[in-house]
Symmetry: D2
């Protein structure tokens, strides 16, 4: 495993086409695109790393996985009355289908759906309390209390996030926001601004793996379903492509991170800031394709764990 | 396994809400909605059946899986220049995204994409020859030479299939049809009119399972990818829901059949003519949810084969 | 003319189907739907009235005509770089085409386009100053200093106008807002909350008529063009129907008012709070159809002024 | 008038940017783009011409105006149950709104709506008879029996018109085609292949003018309404722009012809094969803008006929 990760990191370093760093969040626009890290946290507790695996980055939309688990913990399957479970076929911030479908977002991993998720776990508490609960969940999963929110990134997103404000007001106009729009958006932008390294993210991701080495944070049934959503919806309108090439459930963020789950085996975190045309990490996706090919961990292949 | 299937068939028989039989294909409108069959063909060659598992039905869009394998055998990955690999987020016969995306269908499992697939495996031969090759493939997979095409259903679909004619001409207007439209549609309607029983379909589906009990018809890599496409796109705009509830790749047909793959373990065929709102078999979907729950065969759970 | 208006008002009073009062603006939901007024201000200065022609009502989107004139006065044809001149084919608050067309609203008479108009005439001044300029323009046109803004309606719209906030943030996300979103929306909601009676609105509308009885407020060329926009875009996705039935340029508001122009002859204002399915006054539209039939003032008929 | 037309033709000849000739109809792709003709047929019977006003060209979609009059003559206002009266906001051959609106085309001047119109006047007769009736109507209006159909153009359009076949089958799938699709398309393509010179088209267009110099072919009410439809829908998604710049009802064709009506005054035909981005004649549109400016014939200006 260590050799595989080292080879993948070496290949990434020598790849001249690193994609384009997202520029619409000013605080992220200056990131050095040459960085690349990868970590694998096995179910048995072992962790393997290569490249810049200990450099913290903004996990952005990868946070939607943790937020979904938290929201389901609050209201259970009632969440599905307010958000769907289908791929959207459109980009992460599209508002098109919202109009066709009366303000019910397609799934919890596009921005509109994630705003409903945030609105759900926020319910009945202050943004500070809700974010504290989210961090508690992440820290417990990773067994690492140093995971934190980057306030500058959060503020930058609040100041420039007109598209998210547009989506939230649209949801509110359809009665699909319970809390004041500004409060939900403030919480949402802080949630996106959580920072982790690959090592931390892989460790935190084990709550979806069924790992005997850590306490159970969500039930088997719920874990299975979150993994299913990551497979069909985790990469926006590049979800089908990721399933085709990698064959494992994953969730990407515009900061260049991807969390991938191999059920029963491991959580993998990969990070490289340059994005492909779907808004997913370019080198990260290629690294995962190579990783899946070498390990045979695609859920669509033969299920004999190594 | 036999007990499980018998229980599932019994539960289906006593469920009063059997969905609605598709009426837009006249030849299928008169089917008795009370029928239900299920078959499991294990990788080792064993087959288990319950209910009306030996009654032939029109496999309709389930044929798209076999057609895709055949087309990939002809042109390989060049197929992906003409058809995408993403969920469409819309119904099976939608023309909306075609207009947004210059005549490139979203995936090979919606009608527009399947027409491109048919156009591909048809290339360079007559419809009769192409359909003979398709039947040869299906018969070899199922090891059953009695699989055939229902000519009456094919003719009925040709006579009433204005939506498919519309899609095909639309593709042609974008230069994404190589053969004459009428020839492609004739072949396509015959392909959809293949009849199989659950037993036959489960056996035929093993080509996606990695079964040592049968010859390899497609490479491991291609099998894995077809399974991925079935997971993200196999149930139209209900694909996410099927992944969420069942957690295995599957492909449904408007005749009420569903083929489901448990990689390395088994192919499962279920059939009941009544459809849910997405156009997928209602009892069939519920039966597969129950089956997945009992067996733990979701690819998103722990991958220890029974 | 007086007899015609009296007949029309009588017919409206006896029509049992008065449409549905808009409920999404709380302050307007309680209006008595039985009210109906009509006024004709001839080019020569004569005014004829019938029904509740002196009852003030919320002109709502009719204000977009005055706002457009004001914005064109500020920046001239540069406005057309930020907003189109085509019918949208969709409802007044749709966000669909904005996504297809990179944040350029279809025309200045749908909400998104009107927000750009407000942003334009607001530029370089405070909301208070900008609204004062708008009122000055309206009062000068009507020669009536009592025209005012209903603060309660404005506040109600700001508190509940999530759809407009969504549109404005969407425009801002495409760089098509120069002023802060909150400032534009505050101004916009006040602009919509202007109150006039039919008599006042007909008088004010004469600036589009070419009336020798009043000073010229906008050039002939601009007047002609604003009238053209009212014809093709003045009634949202009911614009074609209004042109077909009435044949004169007009602009409707969700408060039930319609301003109609007969070039060279007269400005007509009609008001009845109940709306048809396009969001335009039901009795108002029918009254204008009857008026056009009786007068022969359709611009598509023979152009011999009475 | 003669001097004005000569000046306009001279200006057109010296304009280096003549737009792009439509290439999707092979028979039209070879037309010399330098040609330009204009004719004005006054209500009193006088005709003025300049440029290539006697060169026949393919009127293409301008035929939709005559087809609409013929269809309304057959079924009257029942036509409006099968086709709308609203601008589509999309290009001439879009299929998008058909899907949103259950197979009811937006208006009779986009291709989908014109197919319904053809289906309507075809009803109960052979294509040969129906086309003979259409030619009789055009010849009577122009008082010229030499108007004819170019068979080569018709055949070329049938052979390559996949988009129209797609639209027609789509309509049929919604039950909005009464005749067999092939029959309607054959008739439609012949209708589009009518050839006229500017002189002939201007003369034929007088049936919409209210000209005492010719027999009344359609009632005043119907004429007024057809003019309204030409204003709001006559130039596809460039209709608003044409109304804004020219201010008279008009209908364009992809062959480069435009028929414009000045109610009570004249019919104007202009032709130049190069198209602008909306698919309307570029020089033709500019010539009409100049013509409207010089004559003051905009219906949105002061209605004092010269």
């Amino acid at each position: 495993m260590q050799n595989l990760l080292t080879d993948i990191a070496t290949a990434a370093a020598s790849n001249p086409d690193k994609g384009s760093v997202a520029t619409y969040i000013p605080e992220l626009a200056d990131i050095d695109p040459k960085q690349f890290g990868i970590s694998v946290a096995l179910a048995n507790g072992d962790v393997f790393c290569a490249g810049d695996a200990d450099t913290p980055f903004s996990i952005q939309s990868v946070s939607k996985v943790f937020a979904l688990a938290l929201a389901l913990g609050h209201v259970g399957d009632q969440l599905w009355n307010r958000v769907g479970r289908e791929p959207s076929g459109l980009s992460f911030d599209s508002i098109l289908l919202l109009e066709r479908e009366d303000g019910i977002p397609r799934n919890p991993f596009i921005n509109a759906g994630a705003l409903v998720t945030t609105d759900t776990y926020l319910s009945g508490s202050s943004p500070r309390e809700a974010l504290a609960a989210l961090l508690r969940f992440m820290r417990a999963a990773a067994d690492d209390d140093s995971i934190h929110i980057n306030e500058d990134v959060a503020k930058s997103e609040i100041a420039t996030g007109h598209r998210n404000f547009s989506l939230a007001h649209y949801l509110a106009s359809h009665g699909n926001m319970r809390n004041p729009v500004d409060k939900v958006l403030g919480t949402y932008c802080h949630q996106c601004a959580v920072e982790m390294s690959c090592r931390q993210l892989a460790l935190a991701g084990r709550f979806l793996v069924d790992s005997p080495a850590m306490p159970t944070l969500v039930s088997f049934e719920r874990r299975r379903r979150i993994n299913a959503l990551m497979m069909t919806c985790g990469h926006y309108d590049g979800s089908g492509d990721f399933a085709f090439r990698v064959g494992m459930p994953g969730k990407s963020g515009v900061g260049g991170g991807i969390l991938v789950i191999s059920p029963g085996r491991a959580a993998i975190a990969v990070w490289s800031p340059g994005l492909n045309r779907y808004g997913n990490s370019k080198l990260g996706t290629e690294a995962m394709e190579s990783f899946a090919h070498s390990t045979g961990w695609s859920v669509f292949g033969v299920p004999h764990p190594g």
